[in-house]
């Protein structure tokens, strides 16, 4: 039984403070106006074309610390929805079951929920629709003379080696989250996500290269030129990726776009940005 259901049950049984009431919160989630080019790490220019994220479930807590120390949940939304993080218009995604009171912390997942009863997390339909991913980001970056299209597809979830059963994002008192939940369904919560926050430490230069053949390297990029190298470092062949409308990617060679996974520096940047980057904006009415 969820924490809010327990609280509601106790309320109905007359066992807790009768100044609290059962209520609801209309939940809206949106993104940010982040389609304009922006400066990434080391001055590269990044343009985002797609940033779909599975947001939820979301829990609001009474104490200043969420997570395992969230003894009393004041509001819960147990679903997830795909959010276009490039569209600042908040979209109604559901209704939170709640009780009145002051909420001082929150915790949420990105469509994939860690369970205490199973090592395998629960992938909610929102994440399923993203190919069992929490986030899909597409864009392009201008780095060292090349315009590199990229796709980043990531899952973000607790694993058996981390805090099983606890949401991946938990606020602390420094986040300054302090809101009163009104009675009679009178509250609305708008959450705004900014995908630029997920990419702050991304090192896009890791995608490209400008070197000559060297011993031990099979394939080396010299800017947009793909070089195939012999064991002794001699150049065997080269081709201009740009002439084919492609880019030369480090370790890959000529390619249409960079497919970035979780094992890469950029993938780690996105994971850390989603969990420990700048927090979403929460607007409570």
């Amino acid at each position: 039984m969820t924490r809010v259901c327990v609280a509601l049950s106790l309320l109905l049984a007359g066992c807790i403070d009768t100044s609290v009431e059962a209520t609801t919160i209309d939940l809206h989630v949106g993104g940010s106006d982040a389609t304009a080019p922006f400066e990434g790490r080391d001055g590269v220019m990044v343009t985002l074309e797609r940033a779909d994220v599975a947001f939820g479930p979301l829990t609001l807590c009474a104490g200043v610390t969420a997570g395992a120390l969230c003894d009393e949940a004041l509001a819960e939304w147990r679903d997830a929805a795909v959010v276009d993080a490039l569209d600042p218009t908040p979209v109604e995604v559901g209704t939170m079951d709640a009780i009145t009171g002051t909420t001082r912390s929150y915790m949420f997942d990105y469509g994939i929920v860690s369970r205490l009863t199973s090592d395998a997390p629960l992938v909610l339909p929102a994440a399923e629709s993203l190919g069992d991913r929490s986030v899909v980001i597409e864009g392009r970056v201008d780095v060292d003379g090349q315009r590199v299209p990229f796709t980043i597809a990531m899952s973000v979830a607790q694993g058996p080696e981390t805090e099983q059963g606890v949401p991946v994002v938990r606020s602390n008192e420094s986040d300054g989250f302090d809101h009163v939940i009104a009675p009679d369904g009178g509250s609305r919560l708008d959450v705004h996500l900014d995908p630029r926050a997920w990419l702050v430490t991304a090192d896009y230069r890791s995608l490209v290269q400008d070197d000559m053949c060297a011993a031990g390297a099979d394939l080396v990029c010299a800017g947009s030129v793909e070089q195939t190298c012999a064991e002794d470092g001699a150049l065997i062949a080269d081709r201009d990726c740009a002439a084919m409308g492609q880019v030369c990617l480090r370790g890959v060679g000529c390619a249409e776009r960079a497919e970035i996974g979780p094992e890469s520096q950029i993938g780690r940047s996105v994971r850390n940005g989603l969990t420990a980057g700048a927090r979403p904006m929460f607007d409570f009415d």
Partner: protein, 327 residues
């Protein structure tokens, strides 16, 4: 009237009222100890056990100075009933005896359950040095308004550092063995020192043990409680809030922060490195509970971990905040 009083008494019984008044005239003095977890006094060993460092490194601390105090307790049933021991002390936890160090007294507590809070604060606002702290350490802590001054080293036979290739400045050092999974060259580095002067002001509390808040005072009894500072959170794979049992301790990431391979990790090096730059900070790490956000470099990461080290009665939990203490 009697029926009303009886009804009130029954209601109080049902809702567990406890006005904590106790017996007038039998207030109790509570001794407050400072304890150091044995990870500080004895270090951390490598191994597979739940409190061992899993990736082969041993860690020892030469100094672990902390500024701690601002102890306050209030009656669980009445916030206005409050007792304080506001003194702040700078103490080298390496020298704290196993039995703890008695530093504060909370005087005149009535019977009942009391909630406890304390703080780790900057040294510049009236901290008193304990005998375990040298003049030089105290001067530095005051000048830089530090909360922690930690010096130690990590060792591993055959240990290596694999700094991110785009940030490394290896000088004349030659790579040793295979690169790491990110193809960063690795260099022999069996002993790596660190000295961390950190500003990590944190308020802790209200503290609890096994979900019971604070401590109980019984008239006529002797009560001693302990503030316990842990020493291994820098090596945690995340920011667990309650049970640390599922937490792993890993240290290779810190070894990989020796960018110039001089056998020492410095604040300047940690500030240059983003968590995502280190292949070692992979999916074994979950940073979503950090008290500092955004986490953009490893100095922030170390500071964030130090903010979580305040405990109570050994493993009792004390929620931490990220707000600086007002001076």
């Amino acid at each position: 009237m009697r029926r009303t009083i009886g009804l009130i008494a029954v209601l109080c019984l049902l809702v567990g009222c406890d006005d904590g008044t106790g017996t007038p005239g039998e207030d109790v003095d509570v001794s407050v100890l400072l304890e150091a977890e044995d990870t500080i006094t004895e270090g951390l060993a490598p191994g597979e056990g739940p409190e061992a460092i899993r990736d082969g490194w041993a860690v020892t601390f030469d100094d672990y100075v902390v500024v701690i105090g601002d102890v306050d307790a209030h009656l669980s049933t009445d916030d206005s009933v409050q007792v304080e021991a506001p003194e702040r002390f700078a103490v080298d936890l390496v020298d704290v005896p196993q039995s703890g160090l008695e530093l504060w007294t909370l005087s005149g507590l009535r019977e009942g359950r009391w909630e406890l809070n304390y703080a780790i604060a900057g040294a510049a606002d009236g901290a008193m040095p304990h005998d375990s702290v040298t003049d030089a350490q105290m001067t530095r802590m005051i000048d830089e308004d530090l909360t922690y001054l930690i010096a130690g080293s990590m060792t591993q036979p055959g240990g290596r550092s694999c700094p991110p290739a785009n940030l490394a400045a290896p000088g004349v050092a030659e790579p040793s063995g295979e690169p790491n999974a990110a193809d960063d060259p690795c260099y022999a580095n069996e002993t790596i020192a660190f000295e961390l002067g950190v500003q990590a002001e944190t308020a802790f509390g209200p503290c609890e043990v096994d979900e019971m808040p604070g401590f109980a005072v019984t008239a006529g009894s002797t009560t001693t409680i302990a503030l316990t500072i842990h020493g291994d959170h820098i090596f945690f794979n995340g920011f667990p809030e309650s049970d640390e049992g599922g937490t792993q301790r890993l240290a290779q990431w810190l070894a990989d922060c020796d960018l110039n391979l001089d056998g020492e990790v410095t604040r300047e090096e940690l500030e240059q490195i983003a968590p995502s730059d280190l292949i070692e900070l992979d999916e074994r790490f979950q940073l979503g509970g950090s008290p500092i956000t955004p986490l953009t470099n490893l100095w922030d990461y170390v500071t964030a971990q130090l903010k979580t080290q305040g405990h109570f009665q050994g493993e009792g939990e004390c929620p931490f905040d990220g707000q600086a203490h007002d001076h």
